[in-house]
Symmetry: C2
Subunit: 303 residues, 2 copies
C-alpha cells in the first residue's frame, strides 16, 4: 500500500471505529455478552474496506465524509455479520479468521448467530440515523435503506452465499464456460453487491446524480470482481499464516478464479477489471483519487 | 375467537399473504432454494398476529390498512426469521413448529440460517418500499426503519433471546423477585419489543401523533406480556399436539410465568395485563375495536 492510501485508510479506520464504538455503547437493554460478541468480530482486524468506500464515494460526490460515518459503520456491521455466519459449523466451519478464533469458537454458536443477527439489524438503525442526522428527504432516506437491504439480502450477498454453497460439487459436472458463469454469479452477489452498495450509499448520502451513482456502481462491480479474483489468487500463492485462515477453498477443491483460469490468467483478469474500474471514475477528476488508489491496492495485496 | 375477529384476521391474513408473495416473487438473482426456504417458514401456519397489529394500528390512526401491507409483511418476515434461528440446533434445537418440521430439518442448517438472514434483510426493504409508496417525508421514513430495527435488534428481540438463553439455569440460584425481574426483562424484549414495533410502525405510517404512538406502545407492552404469559400457560395445560411443539420449556425446567406464579396466578396476571391494554385504547373510540378484540383473544387461546 502506498503511503497516501495508508494514511487515508488509517484515518478512516480511526473515524469508523469511533462511530462503531458509539453505536455499540452499553445500554440497559443491550446484554453485555451480546455486546462483547458483536464487538469482538467488529474489532478483529478488518481492513475497513467497505466503510472506506462509503466515505470515499461520499467525498467524491461532494459530501464531507465525516457526515457519512454512521452509514460507513453500518456497512462494516453487515460485512462482519456475514463473516460470523459464514464461519459457522453449518456453513464454512472455520476455526480461524485473520489469525484469530472465529466468533462461535469464542462465544459459542448460539451467541454467534445472535451477534450476527444483532449486527445486521443495528446496521439499518445506524443508516437510518445517518439519514436523520443529514435531514435527508423521504426519497433519499428510503433509497439509502433500500439499496443497502438489496445489496445485503436474498438477491445480493445472502443470495451469493447460497449460490456459493450450491456451486460446491456442481462445478465439476459442467463445462468451463458454464462454470465461469456460475462463478461470476456467485461473486457478483456474494462480494460485489455489498461493495456496490457501499459506494452507492455514500453517493446517496451526498445527494449524487443518477449518472454519478451509475459510474460508482460500475466502478464497484469492477473492483468487486478484482477483489474476489485477488482473494482466490492469494489463497493459492499467499502465505497461509499471513491470511490467518486455513486455505479451506483449496482444501475443498472448490471452484475459484485460480482453479478456472490458473494464477496468471486470474491475475490478468483482475488487472483488466481494475483498468475498467479506473475508467469509470473519469468524470470525478481529482475527487476520485482515493478510489483510484483503492482499485490499485486491491490487486497489489498479493505482492 | 369470536366471529368478527375471525373474519378480520382471515381478511388480513389473505391480504398479508398476497403482499408477502409479491415481495418474494422469483427474480433472476434470488436463488430458488433460498426462496423456497424463506417461503416455507412464512407459510407454515403463522397466525399473522404482528401484521394484524400493524394494520389495526394504522386503521386506528386513520390510514387505510391496505396502505400498510408491505410493513405488515415486513414484521411477519422478522418474526419468521426469529423462529427459524431460534429453532436451530445451537439454540432451542426444535424439530417441529406448529406440527411441521422446522426449517433446518427440511432445508439443512446452512440454508435455514441464510433464509433467516434473507428474511430479516428483506423486511427492511419492504418497509422502505412502503414508506416510498406513501411518499412519507424523511423524518417519518427514518423513524419507521429505526423503530423496527430497534424492536427487532440487540436491545429488542435479539437481546431478549440472548437474555433468555442466559436465564436458563441462572434462575435457580436467585430469589423469586429477582427471577420475576429477569423473566420480565426477557419477554419485554423477546416478545414485547416486536409487538410494540408492529403497532408503532402502523402508527408512524399513518402519521400519528406522539401521544397516539405512546398509547399504542403501552397497549403493545400490555398485550406482549399477556401473550407470553398465555404461551407459558398453554405450554403447561395445552394439548401438545395442538401447539405442534414438544413442550420443550417444561422439559428443560425453564423459568416461565407458570413455574413462577402457578397456572392460576399466571392467568390472573395475564387478565390484569389485558385490562390495562384496553385502558390504553380509550382515546381511539370505535376505531380501536379490532385492537380490543385482539387483546381479549390473546388470553382466550387456551380455552
Amino acid at each position: 500500500m502506498n503511503s497516501t492510501l495508508a494514511r487515508a485508510m488509517d484515518k478512516n479506520t480511526a473515524l469508523v471505529d469511533e462511530a462503531i464504538e458509539k453505536l455499540l455503547a452499553p445500554t440497559p437493554d443491550l446484554p453485555e455478552s451480546l455486546r462483547k460478541s458483536m464487538r469482538y468480530s467488529l474489532f478483529a482486524g478488518g481492513k475497513r474496506l467497505r466503510p472506506t468506500l462509503v466515505l470515499a464515494a461520499a467525498e467524491c460526490c461532494g459530501l464531507n465524509p465525516k457526515k457519512a460515518l454512521k452509514t460507513a459503520a453500518a456497512l462494516e456491521m453487515i460485512h462482519t455479520y456475514s463473516l460470523i455466519h459464514d464461519d459457522l459449523p453449518a456453513m464454512d466451519d472455520d476455526d480461524l479468521r485473520r489469525g484469530k478464533p472465529t466468533n462461535h469458537k469464542v462465544f459459542g454458536e448460539a451467541l454467534a448467530i445472535l451477534a450476527g443477527d444483532g449486527l445486521l439489524t443495528k446496521a439499518f438503525e445506524a443508516a437510518a440515523e445517518n439519514a436523520a442526522d443529514l435531514k435527508l428527504n423521504g426519497r433519499a432516506s428510503v433509497e439509502l435503506i433500500r439499496l443497502i437491504a438489496y445489496g445485503a439480502g436474498a438477491e445480493g450477498m445472502v443470495g451469493g452465499q447460497v449460490a456459493d454453497l450450491a456451486a460446491e460439487g456442481a462445478s465439476k459436472k459442467i463445462s468451463k464456460s458454464a462454470a465461469a458463469k456460475m462463478l461470476e454469479g456467485v461473486h457478483r452477489r456474494k462480494t460485489g453487491a455489498l461493495i456496490v452498495a457501499s459506494l452507492d450509499a455514500g453517493a446517496v448520502l451526498a445527494g449524487a446524480s443518477k449518472s454519478a451513482r451509475e459510474s460508482l456502481g460500475s466502478y464497484g462491480e469492477c473492483i468487486g470482481l478484482a477483489f474476489q479474483i485477488a482473494d482466490d489468487v492469494l489463497d493459492v500463492v499467499g502465505d497461509k499464516k499471513k491470511m490467518g485462515k486455513k486455505g479451506s477453498d483449496r482444501d475443498n477443491d472448490k471452484l475459484t478464479y485460480a482453479s478456472l483460469y490458473g494464477v496468471d490468467g486470474a491475475r490478468a483478469k483482475a488487472r483488466a477489471a481494475v483498468e475498467m474500474a479506473h475508467a469509470q471514475l473519469k468524470t470525478f477528476g481529482r475527487k476520485a483519487d482515493l478510489l483510484h488508489e483503492l482499485a490499485d491496492y486491491i490487486i497489489a495485496r498479493d505482492k
